[in-house]
């Protein structure tokens, strides 16, 4: 049996008068420090006709600010020996750099300059170039990639049209074309404000110095003027009927995604759903790998994972790629009957123990990286105002029982709560 080794990190928090929520986590084992900012805005906040804008805007944040030239952000961080990036998701956008510890001030100053003074640097030319870059990102990651459209087709199938998670994160060409410099100004004023952001610092720093640097650089940035709330994120616990979409694509083997509506990230029930996913599709000891890859030999790859959506309801997704020669129809039927069998027979405490051992190890392994620690702190601070939840994850997973998993499986994996997205080679046809 795996031994439990709980990893805890120190967590301190404070808040500036302008609403910026700050988390500090000291660790002096390596001479590096991670700076991580989460803005509580993602593709869910886009208005009609502006799909893809949150992500396009993320690109614009690397195009300079009042005291930083275009692309100088990258250059200053790399010259300092640091790494950096940003990413956009349905519910949030994050920006992060890891630096040698004596360069903490640089990272904080760069983030503050673009939070406080972005607009003086914005030009139509920069917007047009980044629009072209993002269109090429879309071609590369979605349109010219086998199965690449699943990222937009699955949420489209699994959330109703009026729901903020329904539309494409990367956006349509038409909407990207429509984005204007006025949209940039408006989005910035509405969402990129200190009271809509969380700043985390993890690694080798002096807490007194960090506090004073944060106050110095971020303290005079004004609070936002308020945002209109998101439309209702509520959806019923189940789809209510089987949902299904078949996509003919430039692929040589079929691949099927099966999504189940599941409890929102962070709820008690979420942990049972997450463990169910690991039992069903994580690694070679999972139910689907053993059944579909090893025994029936109709698939080559399986996985199962949650989207970790903290608003409304989450999705648990199984993803299975066929062995060449296996039809889409057969792949889908075999996956369905395995899920039926799990619903009928349930999982065992051995299944749970295997899944929890893997998940707990992965949580500890991720804690090695200052960047990962800072990102987790920002996530729990953004969604729940409680970064210390980063220390509670292993305990929450360890308290999941087979009964809890079976309760999730029997209520959430039944036929009326399945959304199937099936990719087949062009011309194959499907029942």
């Amino acid at each position: 049996m795996a031994e439990s080794t709980s990893v805890r990190i120190p967590v301190e928090t404070f808040e500036l008068d302008n609403g910026l929520f700050v988390t500090l986590s000291e660790d002096h084992s390596a001479p590096i420090v991670a700076v991580n900012l989460w803005y509580h805005v993602g593709s869910a906040n886009e208005r009609t006709g502006r799909t893809g804008f949150a992500h396009l805007f993320e690109h614009m944040l690397f195009q300079g600010s009042e005291n930083v030239a275009a692309n100088e952000h990258f250059e200053l961080v790399q010259r300092a020996g640091g790494t950096l990036n940003g990413s956009t998701w349905l519910e949030r956008t994050n920006y992060f750099e890891t630096l040698p510890s004596h360069q903490l001030a640089l990272g904080l100053w760069l983030e503050a300059d673009r939070m406080g003074r972005l607009l003086p640097a914005m030009t139509q030319e920069k917007l047009d170039t980044q629009r072209a870059v993002v269109k090429n990102e879309r071609r590369w990651s979605v349109d010219n990639q086998p199965y690449g459209t699943w990222w937009e087709k699955l949420p489209e199938l699994a959330f109703p049209e009026s729901h903020p998670f329904h539309h494409s994160l990367i956006g349509s060409f038409e909407d990207l074309d429509a984005a204007s410099i006025e949209d940039v100004a408006e989005f910035f004023a509405t969402h990129y404000t200190p009271d809509n952001a969380v700043l985390s610092i993890a690694g080798d720093f002096d807490p007194e110095e960090a506090r004073s640097l944060v106050r110095k650089y971020f303290g005079d940035i004004p609070r936002g003027r308020g945002r209109s709330p998101l439309p209702s994120m509520d959806v019923p616990a189940h789809f209510g009927a089987p949902l299904r979409k078949v996509v003919e694509d430039d692929v040589t083997v079929p691949r099927v995604f099966m999504a189940f509506r599941s409890p929102a990230f962070g709820t008690e029930e979420y942990y049972a759903a997450s463990v169910a996913g690991a039992i069903i599709g994580m690694k070679k000891g999972s139910i689907l790998y053993r059944a579909l890859v090893r025994q029936k030999q109709i698939a080559t790859e399986v996985s199962a994972f949650t989207f970790d959506l903290a608003k409304g309801r989450d999705l648990l997704i199984c993803d299975v790629t066929a062995r060449a020669g296996v039809s889409g129809t057969s792949l889908e039927q075999n996956l369905s009957s395995e899920i039926d069998r799990i619903v009928a027979e349930g999982v065992t405490s051995d299944d749970v123990a295997r899944a929890v051992a893997i998940i707990s190890t992965e949580i500890a392994v991720a804690m090695q990286s200052a960047s990962d620690r800072a990102d987790k702190l920002s996530m729990f601070a953004t969604y729940f105002r409680n970064p210390s939840l980063a220390n509670e994850q292993v305990t929450k997973y360890e308290s999941v029982t087979a009964d809890a998993v079976n309760s999730f499986v029997k209520t959430n994996m039944t036929n009326t709560n399945r959304a199937v997205l099936l990719y087949i080679p062009r011309g194959e046809g499907v029942q």
Binding site: E3, N71, Q78, G81, A132, W140, I358, V365, Q368
Partner: protein, 424 residues
């Protein structure tokens, strides 16, 4: 068996890597892919345990072992909470010393590899990579054929080939165990002795390495026919230099300036100045023999010719003109400064040590790395560009829509452009 230990005590995590010298370059001709299949088949059970029992035993300890072949080695790797290390390491040893190699299991791994080959025929990036390697090296060189083999070579592999590869290649003389993380040197030595001490050479002849150098082929320009493509997967380059090249650090810094960093010339040109792409980069693929020098990007179909032309210009420019001091200092201060970030995790440290083993680098490689990087000069960079970049030899491969890109490439005047068709 050699043992390398890198204690890192902050978290109860250990990464274990077993490197076995050999790899794809020691495969018998016609059986390309057998090294990787042998590695994957190690996970399919031992003399004592079925595949399911082995996998379950590892996963109950919270881990799994990945096994794969590289050009010059086979590598088994796992990351585990330190209290579970003895148990998991025992399972790793069992896999290596007494694999089961059931006919049915090996056959399944082989069929999955064939399926993967069929699957990648729809992946433009993979098609571009594989066509590029073949054009550079030819099918007579091991580097010309994909690491995992071709449909033809994998079809020719029998179970006895897999057993034979393991018997000859997997012996303690060729192996190094690397433990990085929450363990000290004495404990590591005792553990390695206890677990791997009984591992004996099975007596097979270690296969000779195949010559992998290319035979000086003239430049080729190829379009891989993807009529429905939304974009062009572009690869440009030529045979590069071996890892043992004395000017290694000059080449690394030169490449960082040319296309290795986000702020490199090629990326700023293609992405930030022109908006042709989401990203463009260049790299020397370091191997024991000369691996490829590659410029890689996915560009909008309509500007494929212009992108090729811009890359050509950048390669000419870095040879003809000395780089600016600011460009040099950006590259060297980044590469030297990022060192503690790059080696933050046990996995990264163990993988870095595996690189030392594979390439036979000195023990002080990591301690002298920063000073070696910071010692590179503007002149050194220019010499490296002049010696190791050969504009007249640059091959160009585009996986894309021939109707859109063929005429653009022809108009560049670099030579005749051939079209390659891939059966689905």
């Amino acid at each position: 068996m050699q043992l390398l230990v890198a204690p890192m005590r902050r978290l109860p995590v250990v990464t274990a890597i077993l490197v076995v010298d050999g790899g794809a370059t020691t495969e018998p001709p016609g059986k390309e892919g057998v090294a990787d299949i042998a590695a994957h088949a190690l996970v399919e059970g031992t003399q004592k345990r079925s595949a399911d029992d082995l996998v379950m035993a590892l996963e109950r300890l919270g881990t799994s072992i990945s096994a794969s072949a590289d050009w010059e080695s086979s590598i088994l790797k796992m990351t585990v909470l330190s209290p579970n290390l003895p148990g998991a390491l025992g399972l790793m040893a069992e896999m290596v010393t007494s694999p089961r190699f059931d006919n049915a299991a090996v056959e399944r791994i082989r069929a999955e590899r064939l399926s993967e080959i069929i699957q990648t025929r729809s992946e433009p990036g993979v098609l571009a990579d594989e066509t590029f390697s073949l054009e550079l090296y030819g099918a007579g060189s091991r580097y010309g054929i994909p690491l995992g083999g071709s449909a033809e070579s994998v079809t020719a592999i029998a179970v006895d080939d897999v057993r034979g590869y393991h018997r000859c290649g997997f012996n303690p003389k060729a192996a190094t165990l690397i433990l990085a993380g929450d363990i000290d040197t004495d404990a590591a030595r005792q553990l390695a002795d206890r677990i791997f001490g009984a591992w004996k050479d099975a007596g097979g002849e270690t296969a000779a390495r195949r010559v992998t150098t290319a035979g000086g082929k003239p430049r080729q320009l190829r379009v891989v026919d993807r009529s429905g493509a939304q974009q062009s997967e572009l690869r440009m380059g030529h045979v590069g230099v071996p890892r043992s090249v004395p000017q290694y650090f000059d080449v690394v810094v030169m490449n960082a300036v040319l296309g290795g960093l986000f702020s490199s010339r090629i990326n700023l040109n293609l992405r930030e100045a022109h908006g042709y792409t989401y990203g463009a980069s260049s790299y020397f693929d370091w191997r024991r023999d000369a691996g490829p020098f590659v410029v890689s990007s996915a560009v909008q179909s309509e500007v494929t010719g212009a992108a090729v032309s811009e890359v050509m210009n950048e390669i000419h420019r870095i040879r003809s003109d000395a780089i600016q001091e600011e460009e040099l200092s950006l590259a060297t201060s980044y590469l030297a400064g990022v060192f503690p970030i790059r080696y933050e995790t046990a996995d990264a440290v163990a993988s870095g040590l595996a690189g030392l083993v594979v390439f036979g680098l000195p023990d002080d490689y990591f301690t002298s790395y920063r000073s070696n990087i910071l010692g590179v000069t503007v002149e050194g960079v220019q010499r490296a560009a002049q010696n190791f970049l050969r504009p007249e030899d640059l091959n160009v491969v585009v996986a894309g829509n021939p109707d859109l890109v063929l005429s653009q490439l022809t108009q560049l005047g670099l030579g005749e452009v051939g079209v390659v068709r891939v059966d689905a």
